[in-house]
């Protein structure tokens, strides 16, 4: 419900947890999600504060330098943590909606200080929600380090890093109800979740989102439905069936996926309720031996009064709309139809499903809808959406990994 944001208080999400507990990963994912659904959201961290400070030695990674015995490092980390908090306050005082804070929050005292800082410096209504990530599975911790920290390690070995974490763990204080904070604790990547004093529309949404997160790096395939008569006539919208070529291409698509999925029938397979989506999915599904779930959420953008017209006819009949669309392609709404923002909103439940799925995901849909889905994984600004290229007969394979998303495209001949 996008319009809600205008009436929201500012929101601060504070991450709590020992190193290598996935805090940064969670903050990236959340930040990406919140920006995608239309909020102005940013992350404030020790690393961020360091990058903005020219006086500091940029070769030392203060996020990883957690050596509790080196007083200089300890002091620097404190300072940077503080700076990040100030930057956060500044952001919210201006036009920021949501700020994520990834700094020093491991003890009750740290958290008290942070709360006081916010109280003192923020001159407007705000809400704070605490997100703690706890992990006692050594394999998971090791995986975390390997996947996200390894590339940044210079002289330090994993063993040293683990030793430092163990020292920090001695002073670590998990969130307690007595601190009177509204929080969620994610334990062992969502195997166990505890929520305390949950309040508000946005926090509720964030909790639902977090419940679906996991660390499986599974592939997501985005494909357009194949060629229809409308393509040949240069018409947009409508609910046409596949052309002969379209049916052939669907067969080839099916063959591609047979090889790609290697017999895995447990995939999450979605398509729209439009004829071209259903037909393409049926042909591909038959080859794979699985059935697609048809959902109206994946239907193409509603072109309103322009539905069924050719591009030329629209230019002739509705020049004013063409102009409007050129000026603001993201928010432009076809009269009696939808805008990209409406499509994002409509497609949000699908994102939840993709996130939740630990198996490969295959989505057969349509241009505008796929642009929105693609943007969730790849774009930092939703304003980029109208310019995303989603060609026909092309499989876009996305593999989200910590802080990043791998992409490859295969044209199906």
């Amino acid at each position: 419900m996008q319009q809600y944001k205008k009436t929201q208080n500012k929101l601060i999400l504070v991450l709590v947890g020992l190193p290598a507990r996935g805090k940064t990963h969670i903050s990236y994912k959340l930040n990406r999600y919140l920006n995608w659904i239309g909020y102005k959201s940013e992350i404030f961290s020790i690393k961020g504060a360091q990058q903005n400070n020219d006086q500091l030695d940029q070769n030392i990674d203060y996020e990883l330098e957690i050596d509790p015995t080196n007083q200089q490092f300890v002091d620097f980390r404190q300072q940077l943590s503080f700076t990040a908090a100030h930057q956060l306050v500044n952001f919210l005082q201006n036009d920021g909606d949501i700020a994520l804070y990834n700094g020093l929050t491991s003890t009750k005292l740290d958290r008290q200080k942070l709360k006081s800082l916010f109280k003192e410096k923020l001159k407007l209504e705000y809400q704070v929600f605490w997100i703690e990530s706890i992990c006692d599975d050594p394999q998971v911790i090791l995986n975390n380090i390997n996947e996200s920290k390894l590339s940044r390690f210079k002289e330090k070995t994993i063993e040293q890093f683990m030793n430092h974490i163990n020292v920090l763990a001695q002073d670590y204080e998990s969130l307690e109800n007595i601190e009177n904070l509204s929080y969620i604790k994610l334990i062992n990547i969502g195997k166990l979740v505890k929520v305390h004093m949950l309040e508000g529309y946005l926090c509720s949404k964030i909790v639902s989102f977090l419940l679906n997160l996991h660390a499986n790096n599974r592939q997501i395939y985005l494909v357009r439905s194949c060629q229809t008569e409308y393509h040949l006539l240069d018409k947009i919208g409508g609910d046409p069936e596949l052309s002969v070529t379209g049916k052939q291409n669907s067969q080839q698509l099916g063959d591609y996926f047979i090889e790609e999925l290697k017999g895995n029938k447990n995939i999450t397979f979605f398509t729209s309720q439009m004829k071209r989506g259903i037909q393409t999915a049926e042909i591909v599904g038959d080859k794979l031996g699985i059935k697609a779930l048809k959902t109206k959420n994946l239907d193409e953008i509603d072109y309103g009064i322009c539905d069924g017209l050719t591009v030329k006819e629209i230019a002739a009949k509705y020049p004013k709309q063409i102009k409007e669309r050129k000026a603001n392609p993201l928010e432009f709404k076809y009269p009696r139809g939808e805008s990209f923002l409406d499509v994002i909103h409509r497609v949000e439940p699908i994102i939840y499903e993709i996130e939740r799925s630990r198996e490969p995901v295959l989505i057969i849909a349509h241009v505008a809808v796929l642009k929105c889905l693609y943007a969730y994984y790849h774009c930092n600004q939703i304003s980029e959406i109208p310019n995303i290229d989603i060609p026909i007969n092309c499989v876009i394979k996305l593999v989200p990994i910590p802080y990043h998303c791998l992409e490859s495209r295969v044209i199906i001949k």
Partner: protein, 446 residues
């Protein structure tokens, strides 16, 4: 979004002492699933016990040392579970077992019975814990005293007996622990704390969100259609016409009504005011918004049902141009989808997020929308059967005030004459509703 994957059955079992809201949660979930299109049913241990052992059971019947009574109760619980399993085998999607299930042994038994009866079944345990004595007292007052177990006692006696009954249960109550290896949700003190353990799956994830947002605050929900529109006058469907003169008058009178209804500025500011993005609704809402000095949220989700190619036609024209569709719609108004448009089932799916938001809200909700949309919303709160949805009576120029409570929904209809401003009130007498339901012989359907 509707997931039509019916291959996996789901069994949900409650855990908790009496007066902890287990039946409330079961009913709410059951309602939600049925509304979404799943076949769901609640099986209440207590009802089985009443049928078989009679209702003259005082607290001694529940003494864990009363061996004979224990056997009888255990047999009743087994019957409830068997009926649930049968239900799932005969086409049911979700079975909800509403019982105390407070011992590890009982839970283990149920879990293994369920797992052994099906090839792949998802089970979820929902434990409701409450140590707030005010809440417990309130629960007892609201629900137990009207319970058939106590129809022959006066309310003070009933309360004492009931509290004794709870003490019996407390002697053997063991909360769910992780080593039982169950998927569970624990809700503590009506959602102040929630613990979720190993809950995966599309529907069960939704259950978690749903439970997190449940509360028992009785807040009113006001539903009204926009004022009469041009298309209403011409008897056309669809379109985005504006209000007729009569419609504009209604908007004014509606604003007056709401102004009277909400007395203070504080209350007005707390209202959740929703409308659609269509001209006739926006226009009506703006008049109300101006009077109350609040802002409505315009949601495309609340736009009227999309009538596709029939947009702008009268029913006579539709009958002439698309006689087959016209007939189809008459036979199955619920599932019939206008070509390039929507069906009522699509609508229900579309407005699910709004239902969620309304459930979550603890403040008054005001919705100015359209006939088909309001039929769906009304049906959810009023617990109508889904097939009834397309024919529910939601007239123009009428405000429907619903106040959902634990076991029923209070309804008041305010008919406003747009020209004179005269108000006629129709109230549903809820006590009749409760009495008629408890007389029902069937102890399965709710």
């Amino acid at each position: 979004m509707q997931q039509c994957n019916r291959s996996q059955k789901i069994a949900i079992c409650t855990v908790g002492l009496p007066a902890r809201g287990k039946t409330y949660i079961s009913r709410k979930l059951n309602r939600y699933f049925n509304w979404l299109g799943y076949k769901s049913r609640v099986f209440i241990n207590g009802n089985y016990r009443r049928e078989i052992c009679g209702t003259e059971c005082n607290s001694l019947f529940f003494d864990p040392h009363n061996e004979e009574a224990q056997k009888a109760r255990s047999d009743c619980a087994k019957m409830a579970l068997q009926d649930l399993i049968q239900f799932l085998k005969n086409g049911g999607d979700i079975g909800i077992l509403d019982g105390t299930n407070i011992t590890k042994e009982r839970r283990h038994q149920i879990e293994s019975d369920l797992k052994s009866s099906f090839n792949g079944i998802q089970t979820l345990w929902i434990e409701s814990i409450c140590n707030d004595s005010k809440v417990i007292q309130n629960n007892i007052r609201l629900t137990k005293i009207n319970n058939p177990d106590y129809c022959n006692m006066d309310s003070e006696q009933a309360t004492i007996d009931f509290l004794n009954r709870i003490k019996m249960y407390e002697q053997i109550y063991k909360t769910i622990t992780d080593d039982e290896d169950l998927s569970y949700i624990k809700t503590i003190n009506v959602g102040a704390d929630i613990i979720v353990h190993q809950v995966y799956g599309f529907l069960l994830s939704k259950v978690v969100s749903f439970i997190m947002n449940l509360h028992t605050y009785p807040r009113p929900i006001y539903l009204s259609r926009h004022g009469e529109s041009q298309y209403n006058v011409d008897d056309r469907v669809g379109g985005d016409s504006d209000l007729s003169e009569l419609g504009e008058m209604y908007a004014d009178k509606l604003a007056d009504f709401f102004n009277q209804e909400f007395s203070t500025k504080e209350i007005k500011n707390e209202i959740i005011f929703l409308t659609s993005t269509m001209r006739r609704a926006v226009h009506t809402s703006d008049v109300v918004a101006q009077k109350l000095e609040i802002q409505p949220l315009q949601l495309k989700t609340l736009d009227e049902i999309n009538v596709g190619i029939c947009d702008g036609m009268t029913y006579t024209e539709i009958a002439q141009k698309f006689p087959n569709d016209f007939q189809e719609r008459k036979i199955n108004k619920l599932g019939y989808r206008y070509p390039r448009g929507e069906s009522y089932l699509d609508l229900i799916s579309r407005i699910e997020p709004v239902i969620f938001e309304i459930e979550r809200s603890r403040q008054p909700v005001m919705i100015i929308a359209h006939q088909a949309i309001l039929r769906c919303l009304y049906a959810y709160f009023h617990q109508n059967e889904i097939p009834e949805v397309p024919t529910l009576d939601i007239p123009l120029h009428c405000v429907i005030k619903l106040t959902p409570a634990a076991y029923f929904c209070d309804e008041k209809r305010v008919l406003i004459n747009p020209q004179t401003g005269e108000i006629t009130i129709k109230e549903e007498y809820v006590q009749e509703f409760i009495r008629s339901k408890s007389k029902q012989k069937s102890f399965i359907d709710l």
